[in-house]
Amino acid sequence: MLERKSSFNPKLDEFEMSFNVYMDYVNRQIKKDINYMPHPFVRALLIAHSEAGNGPNGRYLGVSSLDDSSLGCYSVVLEKRGDKFSILAIQNIDLNLEVPVEVGIYLLILSMRIEKIGGNEILPEDAVDIVNDNIPVLNMILFNNDEWIPARDYCRDVMRRDKRNNEVIEKINSDMTWRDYPSTVRSIIAQYWILEKYPEMLVQDKCNITYTMTEHTIPKKTFLDNILFMLCGEPSKYFDDRFKWTYFSDLVSSDEKINGKIKVGRNHPCKCGSGKKNKYCCNINYL
């Protein structure tokens, strides 16, 4: 269904292969359960493809159904040229995030894995295992909630000693329970604690993430959204050296003209000459 563009691109080849494997998986699940629903971005893609079908060349938008968003709501922009189709963009609508090629594959793998766990919720321990087994760039460490008091005290002492992050220190109130702390404060406390007490759990060359959870289980959608946010949301720009993502728009040649305009990839140098990547600078799609 997906066709290579002008010359061989290993990223695209890998995505196509992964996508075909996923579609085989979907077909097998449908044989067992006629009501089986694939991942919402795949549904969006199928909708766009179906629209494009016998239609003229051009771009088509597919959006996964808003009333069946158990794993979120996605849109896909597909371009048709003759009998060839190319994905131009995949977007998570809830988080307003564009999904890179590699992260798209991760989402499909994670969705296959969490499907094996029944229900709409997942245990934090299972969630962390699934991420660490399947996303090589991440190392998730689950914070042990039983250690929150010594962790809190340690973090407060370090911050007072270093005389920084006064806002955070103010929030660490001795009357508050672990559950009452804002999630950002819990994350900071957990990180300080892991760095101090469990440095052997950190893995070099990976993005080490300390995961804190106060609930016994987490909704699957929340889990996947959290992962997506970590991988390509705001924090991800600090891990450019590890998260070397390719966007679908990057796979279009930067000199290629679409409707008379030159396409500019998100990871390409910004045309203003700043030296920064387009996505962190002017973020212009066409010239």
Partner: protein, 455 residues
């Protein structure tokens, strides 16, 4: 083998391939080397992860498949009076060095344990890369060989058989491997270990090449495949430590122990199958042949020695014949005939048979068969030449005489009829001789003859 039974076996096989194609069909590229395809997929880390996640259900599906079909398949095979061999060597028969071509000449069928379910048992201890590489290589290899699982009316060349699931069977295999493997290690190292654990404990503590080399007192018992001892040990170490998840911690001694017991486990597994199914055992690797002949209880059986001799370099030309064409041509009668040719003058009187003797006899038998084949073709050619010169003249003469004017009453009519009959008879016989010649050339012997003369 009854044609109904063949059909039943092929129905089960078709269901098996449908199951595999559901999982791997869309990523398989027909005609492209399967090792290259496996390598390509293994290099794509994300696609490999996707595949591993996707095929998790396959193990359960295969288990259910065999639960449904294992007993029937075993029963069909056991109740058939055919010459069968159980394959042992790689996970599935890769046709390196023409193993399939060489073996197909002598057997009715080759039994292969179902490879993918077998490989899936290794997932907990393998690295992702090794696991995916093996699964893809052997799944795709089966796709390449698919046609040979269907006999076009004859017994299929390959029949897939269920792996040994039950604990009793597994224990039996383990016991055989331990007994013969331990004995072998003691012979190689001139030691006196009692069991496998002792050997592993001892060898795991040694990580120095020179020390291991000194320990090997009888190197002639190991097939180093033309390499130096050091190169062989390093290659074994690299391959095995790269396969296991914690392989980086393995010493050179430990990987050697794994190699030896791996070989013995493999042979024991297939030997158990072969005994259970009343079949010969056949190997596509020289080291396995040596281990089997020299370190298991082995009788110099003519069939086993003939099968081994066909794997030798003297029969390399067998790689040249088209396996798919052979698959269409082969039938029970042809196979019996071929076996008789190869087996001629090979008797196991007083256990005097050796591999060398058998090899040279088989070579001689084939030469004789080729001479007969050439002689038969020459005879037909000679008959054709005569027919053309003698009958051709008669026909032409008759045709001419058929044109004699009607005024001579009956004579022209008779001559026309004679002419017509003559022409018909000529054409018929000429065509029959040509057909005979074509059948000879396009038959199995003709195909082998062409393979032998191909440069």
């Amino acid at each position: 083998m009854d044609s109904m039974v063949i059909r039943e076996i092929e129905k089960i096989t078709e269901e098996y391939f449908t199951l595999l194609e559901d999982y791997f069909g869309t990523i398989y590229i027909p005609g492209l080397d399967v090792s290259l395809q496996a390598f390509r997929i293994e290099k794509y880390q994300l696609a490999s992860k996707m595949l591993i996640a996707s095929i998790e259900d396959l193990q359960k599906d295969l288990f259910n498949f065999w639960e449904k079909h294992a007993d029937r398949m075993i029963s069909f095979i056991n109740n058939s009076n055919i010459f069968k061999t159980t394959y042992c060597g790689n996970i599935s028969p890769l046709n390196h060095n023409g193993f399939i071509n060489r073996t197909a000449l002598y057997v009715d069928t080759i039994l292969i344990k179902e490879p993918i379910g077998y490989l899936m048992f290794t997932k907990p201890i393998s690295t992702d890369e090794a696991y995916i590489y093996n699964i893809i290589q052997h799944a795709f290899n089966l796709f390449e060989l698919k046609k040979l699982f269907f006999g076009e009316g004859a017994i299929p060349l390959f029949i897939i058989i269920p792996p040994i699931f039950d604990e009793k069977g597994q224990n039996e295999i383990y016991g055989i491997a331990e007994e013969y493997g331990t004995q072998y290690v003691n012979n190689v190292l001139e030691s006196d270990f009692n069991e496998r654990e002792e050997i592993f404990e001892y060898l795991s503590s040694i990580n120095d090449l020179e020390t291991i080399k000194q320990l090997i007192k009888n190197p002639q018992l190991i097939d180093f495949r033309g390499m130096s001892v050091e190169d062989y040990l390093m290659e074994v170490h690299e391959n095995i430590s790269g396969t296991f998840q914690n392989g980086n911690d393995f010493s050179i001694g430990k990987t050697l122990a794994f190699k030896i017991f791996g070989q013995f486990s493999n042979i024991s597994y297939e030997l158990t199958h072969a005994i259970g199914l009343n079949s010969q055992i056949i190997f596509d690797r020289s080291d396995y042949w040596d281990l089997y002949k020299n370190h298991f209880i082995f009788k110099s059986d003519p069939d086993t020695l003939i099968l081994e001799s066909l794997q030798q370099s003297e029969f390399k030309w067998l790689i040249n014949y088209d396996m798919e064409k052979f698959n269409i041509l082969r039938n029970e009668e042809e196979l019996v005939q071929l076996r008789n040719i190869l087996r001629k003058n090979i008797y196991n009187a007083n256990n005097a048979l050796t591999s060398e003797k058998v090899k040279y006899q088989v070579l001689s038998n084939i030469e004789e068969a080729f001479l007969d084949h050439t002689f038969m073709i020459d005879e037909i050619n000679s008959k054709l030449r005569k027919k053309l010169s003698v009958d051709g003249l008669v026909v032409t003469g008759a045709a001419v005489s058929g044109l004699i004017p009607a005024s001579l009453a009956l004579l022209p009519l008779i001559s026309t009829v004679t002419a017509s009959y003559g022409i018909f008879d000529f054409v018929h016989q000429f065509s029959r001789l040509n057909k005979e010649k074509k059948e000879l050339k396009n038959g199995v012997m003709g195909m082998l003859f062409d393979a032998r003369t191909k440069k």
